[in-house]
């Protein structure tokens, strides 16, 4: 039966591997090599400088500032998104309990799910440009709303004290809907009898969420966590388009730092690649760590 499998393996595997190695693996590897040079881009020579770029990086306050911002995003964006996602998904799945113990979704649940998912189908560019206008200090939607209540409006993205939180809010806003749908799908795979039994036993909503839903959804939550962590370490396009790291570097993230170093006024490709390499290891450690820490026994229901 194994007879004749090789033609298929070769035809099916070689083109994707070639494509992948050429456009993905080799650039990553080259990034390591370039990071040990002082290459200034297009025509200039690249001299090996060993680990000098990394030494500079260690003493680069702008890099540390950007890393600090990424760390705050990493601490807040996944937690907020997952908590809100789980909350809304639970509400939608079992918000409307009619009958004695029947578990039913909230009325209009399908509509909510449709609407919540909107940001997911929009391009990040559109989200960034739209929110930039929402935050506009003169004729922005939010500014006008605050004025309408009679309060003085902050300048949102224009103020170093508020800009970062405004960007963070957009990150959560754009992600929650996706996880509502994802968690909702995972919840619908949990047999209803489990919930009905729990509710019949008089458990509160919070207890149900914490003791039943969360353990059953743990795999999904974990995947969500890893994805959101990687997102938080990136966050590049949103920041670049909304604030470009400003004002006064208050919203700077490591991705913007790297892009500016490589494609900004100076094309310090060597140094930019060094930032990339550091990010590579940071992302790797965060992903591995979240998978390790979150490991639990799988629950299977048949």
């Amino acid at each position: 039966m194994k007879h004749g499998k090789w033609p298929l393996i070769v035809t099916f595997l070689v083109p994707p591997v070639l494509l992948y190695v050429f456009f993905v693996v080799s650039p990553y590897l080259q990034a390591f090599q370039i990071s040990t040079t002082d290459w200034l881009g297009y025509s200039a020579d690249a001299n090996p400088v060993g680990l000098a770029n990394f030494k500079t990086l260690w003493h680069d306050d702008y890099v540390w500032n950007a890393l600090k911002n990424n760390a705050i995003l990493l601490g807040l964006v996944p937690v907020l998104t997952i908590v809100l996602g789980l909350f809304f998904a639970t509400m939608l799945a079992m918000g409307g309990r009619k009958g004695r113990a029947g578990v039913t979704g909230v009325r209009g649940g399908a509509l909510y799910r449709t609407v919540y998912f909107f940001p997911q189908v929009l391009s990040v560019v559109i989200i960034a440009l739209l929110w930039k206008e929402v935050y506009h200090p003169n004729q922005g939607l939010l500014t006008a709303a605050v004025h309408a209540v009679g309060l003085p409006a902050p300048t949102w993205l224009g103020d170093p004290a508020t800009a970062f939180w405004c960007v963070l809010a957009v990150m959560v806003w754009s992600n929650v809907g996706f996880y509502v749908v994802l968690f909702g799908a995972a919840m619908s795979a949990v047999p209803k009898e489990i919930y009905e039994a729990v509710l019949l036993d008089g458990a509160s909503r919070f207890t149900t969420l914490r003791r039943v839903t969360l353990p059953l959804l743990w795999d999904t939550v974990q995947v969500a966590w890893v994805y959101l962590a990687i997102f938080a370490l990136d966050g590049f396009i949103l920041v670049q388009l909304m604030t470009n790291g400003g004002p006064n570097f208050s919203t700077d993230v490591i991705g913007v730092r790297m892009y500016d170093t490589a494609f900004g006024s100076e094309t310090k490709f060597g140094y930019a690649s060094a930032i990339g390499v550091v990010m590579f290891f940071l992302t790797l450690s965060v992903a591995v760590l979240s998978l390790r820490v979150g490991r639990r026994e799988r629950i299977e229901y048949s």
Binding site: K5, P7, L8, I9, T11, L13, P15, P16, V17, Y20, F22, F23, V24, P27, Y28, Q30, A31, I34, M91, G95, R113, T114, V115, Y116, F117, F118, Q120, V121, L122, S123, V125, I126, L130, W131, E133, L141, A144, A145, A148, W173, G177, V181, L182, A185, D201, A203, R205, T207, I230, L233, D234, F236, I237, L241, M258, F263, G276, M279, F280, L284
Partner: protein, 299 residues
């Protein structure tokens, strides 16, 4: 608060007296939960609605009253965005490129995933993890060398280059997802087909691929959205020729020029042009989009 340990205490009490306070508590919680659900719905819809309404207003109306409705439907904003800012052309450009890149991704992803899921050979694990490892890293880490790889291959400023790069960077997720999906398919069908003399290629295209349809749809939707939303790659790999730009680049340029021209209405019209078809397609096919997401659970 009642807990899991107390069912015996509540069970013997008569049904009628037990029901009422529970109902009332649920009523309050229901109103509350509906309130939160509604609030988030508004938060999601309002910016989009505002963008859409503003696209029909004049610039002075936008400046005077951001929350106001347009005095008349100023469709010329849309015309200025569609032709003046070339949003129409960029939209079609994106459509062509994304169609190509999603097709290529699905073909390569499905074939590779099938091999990983169904065939044993030396080094399989290594190649598999080589692919899946790519899941961990944002594209921009490889951006600098990628720029030169593409340029040296003569693919700089070409759609073909963009299509190949999109496909290459989508392979990790596609392979990871589809490998898992192919593994869930029953082996008995494949074995029976092979015993009946069905060739390996025929088996894949006639039996396994149709069986993997839900998974394929799901991952195709993911890829479509991520390619359509891509901004960084075209910004770096498609810098020169404006006529070849992707939609995202056109919108960004529109936003930048708006900063100088102060033509907010045109920007809102441009954004609306970009948003509406996507939302329309999503609403029309949301069953597929949502089944797409949940394909792993269904059947």
């Amino acid at each position: 608060m009642t807990t899991l340990d107390q069912p015996t205490a509540t069970a013997p009490t008569p049904v009628t007296s037990r029901d009422r306070p529970v109902r009332r508590e649920l009523g309050v919680a229901n109103t509350l939960s509906h309130g939160f659900l509604l609030l988030w719905g508004l938060l999601t819809v309002l910016p989009l609605l505002w963008m859409f309404i503003s696209s029909f207003k004049t610039n002075s109306e936008i400046l005077a009253d951001p929350w106001g409705l347009p005095g008349a439907l100023h469709l010329d904003n849309w015309a200025r965005a569609w032709t003046g800012a070339h949003i129409g052309r960029y939209f079609l450009n994106s459509l062509v490129v994304v169609t190509g890149s999603v097709s290529l991704t699905m073909l390569m992803g499905a074939t590779a995933a099938y091999v990983f899921a169904r065939y044993e050979f030396r080094g399989r694990q290594v190649v598999y993890y080589l692919f899946v490892g790519g899941l961990m890293f944002p594209v921009f880490l490889a951006l600098v060398p990628l720029f030169f790889v593409v340029r040296n291959a003569g693919l700089f400023n070409t759609w073909l280059g963009l299509i190949l790069v999109y496909a290459a960077y989508s392979l990790p997720f596609t392979v990871f997802f589809l490998t898992a999906f192919f593994r869930t398919l029953p082996t008995s069908v494949a074995e029976a087909a092979l015993v009946d003399g069905c060739g390996h290629f025929r088996l894949f295209f006639r039996v396994m691929l149709p069986m993997a349809r839900p998974g394929m749809i799901s991952v195709a939707i993911f890829n479509f959205l991520s390619h359509w939303n891509q901004f960084l790659l075209p910004q770096v790999l498609l810098q020169g020729d404006e006529s070849k730009w992707m939609l995202a680049q056109g919108l960004f340029a529109l936003s930048v020029s708006q900063g100088y021209a102060g033509d907010y209405a045109r920007l809102f019209a441009g954004l609306s042009i970009a948003v509406l078809p996507v939302l329309a397609v999503y609403v029309a096919f949301q069953r597929q989009v949502q089944t797409g997401l949940t394909a792993g659970q269904l059947k």
